[in-house]
């Protein structure tokens, strides 16, 4: 057991921190804001990362990566997430779309799709959820009918991030065999978003634009060489993709960053003639956040330790996610409480304390216990796979 990073890993983190300090403009507040500068910024940032070999650091050398250790990957994730994910939409490519293509794609697909991801120039969206299938992904209804030269897709997806960015490609889960049992008739198609018949409807969220979209497919033709993996084996790909995705987000790190910001804030802010940091209630609340951050961080590190040994953490990833998401929400609530009246201001108000980071921590995390498998679904996974309890009814 060792609870310290190596000196080399610590140096890497310092390099990253300096890089971020240099590269991120003062106005950067993360994604999902009404600001035209955001996408060009993420593109520029990813190119800078790519030049340093950090963009696809986690990928194998044959696809332009360095096979970086899981701990270096974790450090990269932590610093990116702590700084509001300046890679923007790219992190999805890196975390799960790319890896899925590496694992399930043909050689041709790898050659076609991976290089643009490695350059950070392409935006992907995902088409998983549907209006009638929220958490219950296996019941998707969007149909792909096999025709001579490929598939014809009809249906509707929802909660597709960045579809209106606009996205170039869509990682799409479709039903290819309606007669098979729920989990057996699904496939994954890689769909060019410029294909005729695709309509995107952005749905503004409480946190801002670009995150939520509906995509409508009306007789959309997808060539056969855009089928990922085997036909009717899509469930396996999506499951692997979601596992990559869950491990790919250092949610605790952003919470940790907001705790740091709040700590600086209460040291610098005076109230009734003394720093807010001397207020016992404030001290206890920040300390409690810090304690829960420690717990979440360690449970993530446990999952990463398993990955370091080549194991796939499933139950451990769900437990880490329970702690991550509840921490994120708690930091938002407690942070707002510490700001008090100042918390009423959004990031759009120049007077907002901490540039609105706390407001955003609150509002962005309202659905964090819902996204990528609700809290309840995580608990069902732990109950069944971790504890061997009978299936919940």
């Amino acid at each position: 057991m060792d609870f310290a990073f190596t000196p080399e890993e610590e140096r890497f983190r310092q390099e990253l921190k300096e890089f971020l300090r240099r590269e991120l403009p003062e106005w950067w507040r993360g994604m999902f804001v009404h600001d035209d500068r955001v996408f060009p910024q993420t593109r520029r940032f990813c190119q800078e990362l790519a030049e340093r070999g950090w963009l696809t650091m986690a990928w194998p050398p044959e696809h332009g990566g360095q096979n970086a250790s899981v701990w270096k990957q974790a450090i990269l994730r932590e610093e990116m997430w702590a700084h509001e994910e300046p890679r923007g939409p790219q992190y999805m490519n890196l975390n799960y779309i790319g890896p899925c293509i590496m694992r399930y794609g043909t050689e041709e697909q790898k050659r076609r799709f991976l290089p643009p991801m490695a350059k950070g120039t392409v935006i992907w969206t995902q088409g998983f959820s549907e209006p009638e299938a929220g958490s219950d992904l296996a019941s998707v209804r969007t149909r792909a009918e096999e025709v001579a030269d490929g598939f014809v897709v009809n249906g509707q997806k929802i909660w597709s991030s960045y579809a209106d960015a606009p996205a170039d490609w869509c990682f799409l889960l479709v039903r290819t065999d309606p007669s098979a049992p729920k989990h057996r008739g699904l496939s994954v198609l890689l769909v060019d978003m410029r294909t005729p018949g695709i309509t995107v409807r952005p749905i503004d969220s409480m946190a801002g634009p670009h995150e939520l979209n509906e995509i409508f497919f009306d007789d959309v033709k997808v060539p056969r060489n855009c089928l990922l993996g085997e036909k009717n084996r899509g469930w396996e790909i999506v499951t692997a993709g979601l596992a990559f995705e869950r491990a790919g987000i250092a949610r605790y790190a952003r919470a940790g960053r907001v705790i740091e910001l709040l700590t600086e804030y209460v040291q610098q802010t005076h109230c009734d003639g003394q720093p807010l940091a001397a207020n016992l209630d404030v001290r206890r609340k920040l300390a409690e956040l810090r304690v829960r951050y420690e717990a979440a961080r360690l449970l993530n590190y446990r999952a990463i330790s398993l990955q370091a040994r080549g194991q796939v953490p499933v139950v451990e990833a769900s437990i880490a996610r329970l702690h991550n998401t509840q921490l994120e929400q708690l930091v938002g609530h407690v942070g707002m409480e510490i700001l008090g009246l100042g918390g009423l201001l959004t990031h759009a108000d120049p007077q907002a304390p901490l540039s609105g980071s706390v407001y955003r921590q609150w509002v962005r995390n309202i659905p964090t216990t819902i996204a990528a498998g609700t809290l309840e679904i995580q608990k069902n996974i732990i109950a069944a796979q971790g504890l061997g309890l009978p299936r919940q009814r």
Binding site: D272, G340, L341, G342, L344
Partner: protein
């Protein structure tokens, strides 16, 4: 002891609910939120006709001579309708301040106008850097002959730009906390709207103005207790609004849980979902009776009672739980702007941040328990 509404109170609630369901809708809440004034003047006049705007004022001023408890019941209905209006700053905060502190002339000038809906009043209390409303004003008024020179900045002033009367909390050099009744006609006040998320227009106000000493409301230096009372009324009123709003959110949430299916059955048949709805029911009920008890205490003249602080100490935590539960049951749809839940969630958070934190009110409760 009787926790039922009286027949008159029931009638008031029923007629308010029926009126609001006829004239108001959540689409109108959305539209009015985006408007500059943030409220509907025509509806405001109708509320005056119904006697709501003078609900607790004497008949001599055009009031209905009810108590603060009845005002609270109305607010619960406004919350259910999610009706944005200056009711709290004007009717709950400012009018009673004029009544409590103002001279006979000041009362005659403003109260009938307020009751008739022809004057909007608000309170400019908060200053930059305040975490809650319970601070001594640092904006100073200096005596210059028979005039008072007022310089400084206030923020989070609700509906300031629409206000005909702004009651400004100041410290008069050497005399202590005082309030000035500043007429809209007086030049030298500037406004800028703040970007807040709570659905209520709030403003920064910059003062650089000399006003006659007759704008003083009550004796100089003696406004502290009445400002405190006003904040407590605003607090209970805002909670009552959120009780009504939350009741509606519970209805939406239960309806969603009954009709939305996942894994081949309504999600409301999953214990985890059903029990979240039950927790909402339980929190809303507790909050409702704590609010009624607080309002009853205020109406009985016991503004400073433990029971008043208890309502906000419970309410802050309950509102967090209620809205987290509502979102969790709704899933992703509840996070979208086009769905109605967010209208309520944003207001709940704003009420939590205003009128004192849990910790502040627990300290008040502790003091009232004799813990010294």
């Amino acid at each position: 002891m009787d926790l039922h509404l009286s027949p008159e109170q029931t009638l008031l609630v029923e007629s308010a609910r029926s009126f609001l369901s006829r004239v108001w809708s959540l689409e109108r809440t959305r539209a009015i939120e985006a408007s500059p004034s943030g409220f509907d003047r025509h509806l405001w006049l109708q509320m005056a006709e119904l006697g709501w705007l003078g609900i607790a004022l004497p008949q001599g001023f055009g009031g209905s001579e009810q108590t603060f408890l009845e005002a609270t019941l109305l607010l619960e209905e406004m919350g259910r309708a999610l009706l944005p209006s200056p009711f709290v700053p004007c009717v709950v905060v400012a009018a009673p301040l004029v009544q409590a502190l103002g001279s006979a002339e000041q009362q005659r000038r403003w109260l009938p106008l307020i009751a008739a809906g022809r004057a909007i009043a608000t309170l400019a209390l908060v200053e930059p850097g305040w975490r809650d409303e319970w601070r001594r004003p640092e904006v100073r008024a200096l005596r210059e002959g028979t005039r008072l020179r007022l310089r400084g900045r206030k923020c989070f002033v609700p509906y300031a730009e629409s206000a005909d009367l702004t009651i400004v909390a100041v410290t008069i050099e050497g005399e202590g906390p005082s309030v000035l009744a500043i007429d809209r006609e007086i030049p030298g006040c500037s406004y800028s709207r703040l970007d807040t998320f709570g659905g209520e227009p709030q403003f920064d106000m910059e003062f650089d103005v000399a006003v006659p000493a007759t704008t003083l409301l009550g004796k100089p230096g003696e406004a502290g207790a009445e400002i405190d009372n006003a904040c407590q009324r605003a607090m209970v009123a805002s909670l009552a609004f959120m009780v009504g709003a939350s009741e509606r959110v519970l209805e939406m949430t239960v309806e969603y849980a009954k009709t939305r299916s996942q894994f081949g059955r309504p999600i409301g048949s999953f214990q985890a979902v059903a029990h979240r709805c039950v927790d909402m029911r339980s929190d809303i009920d507790a909050l409702r009776y704590l609010v009624y008890q607080a309002a009853w205490n205020i109406a009985s003249g016991k503004v400073d009672a433990l029971e008043v602080a208890a309502a906000k100490a419970y309410g802050n935590e309950a509102l967090r739980r209620i809205y987290m539960n509502a979102h969790q049951v709704h899933g992703a749809i509840g996070f979208s702007m086009e769905y109605d839940l967010q209208l309520f969630t944003r207001r709940a958070k704003a009420v939590e941040l205003q009128w004192g934190s849990t910790s502040f009110h627990l300290e008040r409760v502790a003091a009232r328990m004799g813990l010294e």
